[in-house]
Every structure is written in C-alpha cells, then in structure tokens.
Symmetry: D2
Subunit: 126 residues, 4 copies
C-alpha cells in the first residue's frame, strides 16, 4: 500500500471537503436520525429497499428498444426525470446499506476492480 | 495510469481532487475502454447487470436472522468479504449505468433527498 | 374465450384439463397476441419486467418486522391486496418469460428439486 | 362468480390429479418440512431468496444482444441448462413465498389479468 492508498482507505464519513459521496453519506445519516428511522434501517431491510428501487429503475427501461434506451434521456423529459429519480433512490439506499454494514463503497469498488483487472487484462493492441 | 486515464477521470462530474466517486467513475470508463467492453455497456444491459448484482447481495443476507445480519461483518470474515465484494459490484454497475445515462448520481441523490425531506418533515422534539 | 384461445391453451405444456398453470399460460399468450404485444415480449424485456415486479413485491415487505410480515395477510387488508397483486404480476411475467424461452417451469422445478434433494438429504430422525 | 370460477378458486394445495402446480407446491412443502427448513421460510426471507434468484436469471441474459437472447436456448446448450435451472429456482421460491402468504398464485394471476384486460382492451381489428 502506498501513501495515497492509505488516504483512499480513510473512513467514508470523513467528510473531506470535496468528497461528494462522503457528504451525501453524512446527510443521509442525519436525515434518518432526525426522523427516528434508524430502527428500520437494518441490513436486511435496506437490502430489500435497494432491490425494490433497482426493480423500479429496471422497469423504466424494460420496454424500450436498445436504440430508444440509448437516447431516452434527451428524447423524453418525463422518462428522464423518472430515471434520475430512480437512480437517486438506488444511490441513497446503497449508501445507507453500506453505512449499516460499515463498508467503504469506494474502497471496496477499487479492490474489486483491481481483482477484475488482473483476471481480464486489457486487450492487446497490435 | 496514463495521461488519458487522468483526462477521463476529470471529464466526469468535475473530478475535483478528493472527489473519490469521480475518480472511480473515471477509472471504470478507462477500464471498459481498454477492454473494448463499451459495446456491451448499453443502459438496458447495465441495468440488468445492476439487478443481477443486487440479487447476489440480497442472497448473502437472506437466511440470516435480523440479529445475525446486524453483526455479520464482524462475526463471519468470509461472509464479510463476500458482502464487500457484492457491494463493490453493485457500486461499479451503478456508476457505469449513471455514466451511460449521463446522470450525476450525487446531484440526483441530493435532489431526491430535498423532495423527501419536504414530504416527511423531521419528528418534532418537545 | 374464443375457440382460438382454447387452441393456444392446449398448445402449451399439454393443457390437460385441470392443469391450471397450462390454462393461465394459454390465456397470457392470447392476451398478448390480441394486443399485438408479442413484439415487446423478448427474453431480455420479460426478464427485466420480472425483476421489476419482484422489486415491487419485495418493497411491500421491506419495512415490516418478521412478526408483522408473518401476519400481514390477515392484519392489513390493503397490504394483502397489494401483495396478491404483486405476486400475480410476478407469476404472469415468469410464465411469459418461460414461454418465450420454451421452458416448462414445472418440469424444470422438479428437476432442480431432484438435484437439491440429493445434495441436501433430509435430516436424520433419531 | 360462476361455478367454474369457484372451481378455479379452490385451494392451491388441493392436489387435484393433473394440477401440476398444486403437486409441486405439495412437494416443496414436504421438502422443507423434512429438512426442518420451515423456520427459515418467512415471507421476508423467501422474498429475498426470490429476488436473489431473479438476479441470477437476469444475469444469464444481460450481455446477450436481443437476437442472441432470442435463440440462446437452441444455440448454447450450457447457457440453456443454466437458464432452466434459474427459472426453476425462481419458480420454487415463488411457490414457497405464495404458500407462506397463503396466496393462490393462479387465482391471483387471473384476477390481475381480468383487471388489465379491462384497462387495455384488445386492439380493434378493422
């Protein structure tokens, strides 16, 4: 591990200025606390909520052709709003689930990408 | 990382130094480009991949009691590794889907939270 | 039901009188044909629709405690109606996906159960 | 309700000879009882298991083009086996979830189809 890896591995909630995901994580924790919703935010419940929102996101794309889906964000303002809203819900539950399990999503994502990069080396250019 | 990797990172969501999600977004774009996988990364395909990984994440928690799930990360090192790995996969596909749809996840998440905050005001403290 | 509906029912999974799943399969095929919806019912689209409906079903149970979920069908008539409706949607898309892939769900289910029975023998009673 | 509707509404577990779904439902109940797995088969857990298996099913189709997905069952014997196996898992958990919630899937599916038929009348043929 280099020094910069160590920096990456810092707590998700460190709230470094400029780290937008850490800021969102903090806001979501405060939001749940202010409403006394922490009691519902168990790992199983949050995983179900995440699955529910991913279902709604998938449903927005299900009947579109591949070509329609490729341009939906510029072609259909209402669908674009719904898709942004579903992506937001997925993000918010994913962040809350990771917090409930004390997982740093970005560090985990980089670790996985290290593994996958090793397993599937880039195509050779000849 | 090559110079062009750096450019990819900066082109997405501003890439301010310290913005860890923007850095990850750039790394994922470079990763797909180097493997010529962009052809597979359509919105429908990425939404399906996201649903698939969320399914695997949910499966890690399905037979645990609520109490077991609350402490799984410290009680069972192998399960904890699998859960981190599934959270990573979900994150990576969510980030790639948002990029394919040109959606800023963090901005969308804050907008949604503004809406929900308005709809569900905090409990009154008396 | 017209004569052609009957023909559709018989053509799928034998349609023995009394086989309620075969009857439903036939009705769903006729339903889609009468609305010219077969063009949308590709395997990928139907799998996405199935994932979407499972998401809505999961969402009905996500915030309930295990005890609340155990008695929701008798305790909360409105939730019970929504749950029956979501189970219906899941069933209908599963049946249509199996038809699109030409898979006999019941035969596949028994084959899988044969395999799993072998892998996990019944607990010994002493 | 006509007399034949009443017949349709009979208990899922009636096991009428020839009703293949009722037979499967009975076999699944016996299978879980013999292994003392009923304790795990709560509505929330089974809904999560269903979501997990649907995720695996979706994953089988995610990177295929629409044309590849249309012919995968005849073109790729190994993928066809995996898809049949995932469809079986989805069916088995759906049947067990419906049993845990005491819902007759086929009756619910017909009720939903009645509703949807009313909402979307068949295309007019001129």
């Amino acid at each position: 591990m280099t020094e910069s890896d160590g920096a990456v591995a810092r707590s998700t909630n460190s709230g470094d200025p400029g780290d937008r995901l850490a800021e969102l994580t903090g806001r979501l924790a405060a939001f749940a606390a202010e409403r006394d919703w922490e009691q519902f935010h168990t790992p199983k419940n949050l995983a179900m909520a995440l699955a529910g929102e991913v279902g709604e996101l998938v449903a927005e794309l299900q009947w579109l052709t591949p070509d329609e889906a490729a341009t939906v964000m510029s072609d259909d303002a209402k669908a674009a709003d719904r898709i942004r809203s579903e992506l937001a819900d997925v993000t918010n539950y994913l962040v809350q689930l990771a917090a409930a399990l004390d997982v740093d999503l970005i560090a985990a994502a980089h670790n996985k990408l290290d593994e996958v990069s090793h397993r599937y080396p880039p195509a050779r250019i000849e």
